[in-house]
């Protein structure tokens, strides 16, 4: 049986969903999951729609190591003492391993330099934030020396030279129930309040959402998979979506009428530190064809289905991560009313 430890900061993505998928998906592979946290919050969370018996079954299988992961000596010693095979580091900023048997799974955009010491296996999870006229982003861009997009992340370079067996998974925007990043939630708040949806500039900017369950499936599929060795895969939805289209798709998912959309020029406003809109103001989407061809992975959800799943299991039950904040909205609406009058 392989032993997997997850180094989990207290607030993080639907790690429960990922852990649960890993645990379920890896029942076949016999992996035991340990969550390593400071213990400030419960390590597991019952997923919406998950039965009590399924949840307690999962919960009982998950072990908990309680200690501050900043205490790197402890991390090192406990990791080696326990003989973990796979270390699943959410942050990916400081990965430590003194045992060459470790496999690492990092789950976060990796921006800082990582230290890898004689790692065995590593699965990286990172974003590329590139502004581009030519799209979609493809995995080959990172390794093509002729590509204009050659922005190979430090981590991937490090891994290549380190001799570690690694896989890099690149999502775009993740969504789904218990999403910590208010992407769809931002739109749902507006729809529930019956408010127009303010969208930056033209609204034709194209983005891409991937359901967290589909991402979790990809994780399980790359574990121990030869075809995934030293490969990069984009993992997200098969179709992309315009900003305006996303507002309409959320409305469909939640059974709301088609929303009123207001376009505004962000340069005309000073929102201070507030984020008036949850997406990057650019086209941002990646081709997932490689994962489909090489891994045989395929997203289960299309966008409206996935948003419906997220709405039904989360927002519609009265749960969300961030309170609605329409202060920037009001600034935008006040100005547009002033212009009209």
């Amino acid at each position: 049986m392989a032993k997997l430890v997850v180094l989990q900061p207290t607030k993080q993505p639907p790690i429960s969903l990922l852990s649960s998928s890993l645990s379920n998906g890896t029942k076949l592979c016999q992996i035991q999951v340990t969550l390593f946290t400071r213990g400030k919050a419960p390590v597991t969370q019952q997923l919406p729609g998950e039965s009590d018996s399924d949840y307690s079954d999962f919960k009982s299988k998950v072990l908990h190591l309680k200690r501050d992961r900043q205490d790197s000596e402890f991390v090192k010693s406990s990791l080696s003492a326990e003989g973990y095979d796979v270390v699943y580091d959410i942050n990916g900023t400081r990965l430590l391993a003194s045992n060459s048997q470790y496999r690492f799974i990092c789950l976060k955009p990796v921006s800082k330099r990582c230290q890898y010491h004689t790692l065995h296996d590593c699965i990286l999870f990172c974003c590329i934030n590139l502004k581009s006229d030519i799209l979609p982003h493809c995995e080959v861009d990172a390794v093509d020396p002729k590509s204009r997009h050659k922005g190979k992340l430090n981590t991937e370079s490090l891994l290549e030279t380190s001799g570690v067996n690694w896989t890099s998974l690149r999502p775009v925007y993740i969504y789904g129930p218990l999403n910590y990043n208010p992407v769809e939630e931002w739109v749902f708040h507006h729809l529930k309040a019956g408010r127009p949806i303010p969208i930056r500039n033209s609204g034709v900017q194209i983005t891409q959402l991937g359901h967290v369950k589909d991402l979790a499936t990809a994780f399980v599929q790359v574990l121990g998979n030869e075809k995934a060795s030293k490969q990069v895969f984009n993992i997200s939805g098969e179709k992309y979506i315009t900003f305006d289209g996303l507002a309409k798709a959320c409305a469909k998912a939640g059974g709301f009428p088609e929303p009123e959309i207001i376009h505004y020029n962000p340069k005309e406003f000073d929102f201070g530190k507030k984020k008036a809109f949850p997406f990057r103001d650019q086209h941002f989407f990646a081709s997932v064809e490689k994962a489909k061809h090489v891994l045989g992975w395929k997203p289960e959800f299309d966008l409206v289905e996935g948003l419906t799943d997220s709405y039904n299991l989360d927002f519609s039950r009265g749960t969300y991560r961030k309170e609605a904040d329409f202060s920037t909205d009001d600034m935008i609406l006040n100005k547009s009313f002033a212009l009209q009058s």
């Binding site: 030519i134 799209l135 204009r148 033209s202 034709v204 179709k239 992309y240 305006d244 309409k248 798709a249």
Partner: protein, 341 residues
């Protein structure tokens, strides 16, 4: 020794096809037949290319028709005539494969389909158009997506599928390449030292392929008829480019700076169709079926390809040609944008 030679000739002969191309005599698609004929001949197939109309017409003085010696010197046959009379034009010759790169509606293509069927053609290929896809908030257009029921090409596609057991339909967007009958990148090159007026936000996505990619896809369909059979193929490049991006890339290819000016066609009283060579909306298909089913790989690299195109633009003296920009001037005047004299 001679026995072995017989076997190899026999095998080669079985793989070689007799291909008939019915080619339009003008417009953006004319160049497709030209490249396809040459590629087929290069691979050892037999080619007859019929161009609509008369050999002596003025249309034949333009590319690619004025380069048809490249087809005949490679062993291809060139004929001219009326598609409704195709059987007589080819004087009773028979073929394995027919490509109709001419008709946009059933009235025009039906006689060709009927003749092909009755004369024993096994595989019918048709150049349709990605323009028949219904506009969507969820790009890209993927094979199988909803098309506009009243589009002329749709009627043709349906009839082909009814009549032939083995067929393939190709839906292109825009293309560049030497021998093109219709301006594409030239519009941007013509704008050197002038502001480039682009309707809307400039973020609209389009797809511009080098015609060699379209030709290679068609050739694969000829050489892998079972794989191609009964499929729709988006006959486009691997990547999409924004309208602004195309302007930037063309300027880069010409070694010049670029000044892009965005405008609202309605507000300035301009007809965007006449003012600008691309659709004023997202028009973006992806070639997923060609990759999945034919193992096709695109080679278009706009950065490099546009450099080649600019070299030819200069070689033929187009950069020195005096030009009129009536529509542009109207737009720029309405926007009060100065033009250097």
């Amino acid at each position: 020794m001679s026995c072995l030679r017989w076997i190899s000739y026999g095998a080669a002969a079985a793989d070689k096809k007799k291909v008939f191309i019915l080619n339009t005599n003008s417009g953006g698609h004319a160049v497709i037949g030209f490249y396809f004929a040459k590629e087929l001949l290069g691979s050892g197939h037999e080619v007859t290319i019929m161009t609509v109309g008369d050999e002596g017409s003025d249309k034949m003085k333009k590319p690619p028709f004025n380069r048809f010696s490249e087809i005949t010197s490679a062993g291809g046959k060139t004929v001219w005539g009326d598609p409704a009379d195709v059987g007589n034009v080819v004087a009773g010759a028979t073929f394995d494969v027919v490509l109709d790169n001419n008709g946009k509606d059933l009235d025009t293509v039906r006689p060709v389909i009927d003749w092909a069927k009755s004369s024993g053609v096994k595989h019918f290929l048709f150049i349709s158009s990605a323009g028949i896809y219904k506009p969507t908030d969820e790009p890209p257009h993927v094979e199988g997506d909803v098309v506009k029921a009243d589009a002329g090409h749709v009627g043709v596609e349906k009839y082909i599928a009814e009549v032939f057991g083995s067929w393939a339909v190709f839906r292109p967007q825009y293309m560049i390449g030497s021998g093109n009958n219709k301006d594409c990148e030239e519009w941007f090159f013509d704008h050197k030292n002038r502001p480039v007026p682009i309707p809307g936000s400039g973020m609209q996505l389009t797809n511009i392929a080098h015609v060699r990619d379209l030709s290679s896809m068609l050739t694969l369909a000829v050489e892998k008829p079972e794989a191609a059979s009964c499929n729709i193929f988006n006959c486009v490049s691997n990547r999409t480019v924004t309208l602004d991006g195309m302007a930037r890339l063309c300027a880069e290819a010409a070694g010049l700076p670029v000044e892009i000016v965005h405008y609202d066609p309605k507000a300035v009283g301009a007809d965007a169709k006449k003012a600008f060579p691309f659709r004023n909306m997202h028009f973006y298909a992806e070639p997923r079926a060609p990759k999945d089913r034919l193992g096709w790989e695109g080679t278009t690299n706009l950065q490099d390809d546009l450099k080649e195109r600019f070299k030819e633009y200069v070689k033929i003296g187009r950069d020195k040609k005096p030009m009129q920009f009536e529509i542009d001037d109207k737009i720029l005047e309405a926007l009060k944008v100065p033009v250097a004299v």
